[in-house]
């Protein structure tokens, strides 16, 4: 709200409108602009911000702007002029495709400048959105992108060539919580015991490693599974499990690896299947 001296110079319609909105309206000089930033992992997503600005003349001006988020979890921003007046409300929603919570995160700020070197003056709201769950201001929070439930995703990894182990890398900008892991291993006829080992690393250094619950013999096909808190054991004749720590969070660049002791050139891992909870890191 403007100072009383200024307030009484405004047209009656403006004063009435501002009185009705209390302290929720944010005054914008002509140099203040709206910045919409997004982080997103799904293809084809469109994000729309719509709202109203109460002009000095007492008239409310609606605005609608649409942005196309990046699909690689990096930030994409648009800056739009709103003109002089009071920002009274806005809503941000998904206007194309159908991301689930955890896939499209937005942040709305007031900035000075229109080009890359903008100065942030205020952050009005931030959070995950979907087609039916908008971010609405006033009233919304400035949420962090790694809080609350993430997106539940089933991911098929790379099917390695024969004689090659498995290494799945957490994508840049993602945070994963591993819920379960599955891969099938076909040992060739070379007589030797294979010892698949599951490990996690930060891209370079291991921070978790568990050895094999039981060796796999030549010409045998086994399903290898892992889940948080699961026992390390032989489940059935052709199924083995590793246990993993509960609630381990992986950052972008971290890896889930299988290293098979005594692996042979003709041994073959199938494509791993991962069930993960994913958040957008929102860094950078």
């Amino acid at each position: 709200m403007p100072a009383d001296a200024t307030f009484h110079e405004l047209p009656l319609e403006t004063r009435l409108a501002l009185r009705l909105r209390g302290d929720r309206a944010v005054f914008l000089t002509g140099d203040d602009n709206l910045q919409l930033s997004s982080w997103n992992s799904l293809t084809g997503v469109g994000v729309t911000i719509a709202g109203r600005v109460l002009g000095l003349d007492g008239h409310s001006r609606p605005f609608v702007h649409t942005a196309t988020p990046n699909t690689d979890r990096t930030i994409a921003s648009i800056v739009r002029k709103l003109g002089e007046g009071w920002l009274t409300e806005f809503t941000v929603f998904v206007s194309a495709a159908a991301p689930i919570l955890g896939q499209t995160f937005v942040r709305v700020q007031i900035v000075r400048g229109l080009e890359a070197a903008t100065q942030v003056l205020a952050t009005l709201g931030a959070g995950y959105i979907t087609a039916v769950q908008p971010l609405a201001w006033p009233g919304c929070a400035v949420a962090r992108s790694i809080e609350g439930p993430g997106a539940l995703r089933s991911i098929t990894g790379t099917n390695p060539a024969a004689g090659v182990d498995i290494a799945e890398t957490v994508p840049t900008g993602a945070v994963w919580r591993l819920l379960s892991f599955f891969a099938r291993f076909v040992a060739d006829a070379t007589v030797m015991s294979r010892q698949p080992v599951l490990s996690f690393d930060d891209g370079t250094s291991d921070y978790f490693r568990t050895d094999t619950p039981q060796n796999q013999t030549a010409s045998q096909t086994n399903d290898w599974v892992a889940a948080p808190g699961m026992e390390r054991l032989t489940l059935f004749v052709n199924s083995r499990s590793w246990g993993t720590p509960t609630d381990v969070r992986f950052r972008g660049g971290h890896r889930i690896l299988i290293t098979t002791g005594s692996i042979q050139a003709g041994d073959n891992w199938g494509a791993p299947q991962l069930w993960v909870e994913e958040w957008l890191e929102g860094a950078a």
Binding site: T74, T217, L257, T260, S262
Partner: protein, 113 residues
């Protein structure tokens, strides 16, 4: 479906849930062998039947020719190394890096299969 020219791994660049998949080559297994009385480390695919490897056999370390391996033997001395031409499609996300927004490592590319 794509095949990585470096590691020959196969993957779908777009997953069924509509998200992109960023392939990164797994490490390479190298095997410690003795060849012509010289201890060397070779790629798994380059191990010869006449090479000698050290294995754990019934709890005892023994060095035997590859052709004489037995069921239950566990080869010792394997190491995992990153491939010199590794492909890593995950992007560089540092605004101060000139490669910002580009894949970390191109490797030797991919081919459609």
């Amino acid at each position: 479906m794509l095949e990585c020219n470096t590691c020959k791994g196969r993957y779908a660049p777009l997953l069924p849930d509509g998200t992109r998949y960023f392939h990164a080559c797994p490490p390479l297994t190298r095997v410690a062998v003795t060849r012509a009385d010289e201890p060397i480390v070779v790629d798994l695919s380059a191990v010869l039947p006449t090479d000698r490897v050290t294995v754990l056999r019934a709890g005892v370390l023994v060095t035997v020719p590859v052709v004489a391996l037995q069921a239950g033997d566990e080869r010792q001395g394997d190491i995992q190394v990153e491939r010199p031409d590794k492909r890593d499609e995950n992007i560089v996300n540092r605004p101060d890096d000139r490669r910002h927004g580009q894949p970390k490592l191109e490797g030797t590319g991919t081919r459609e299969i």
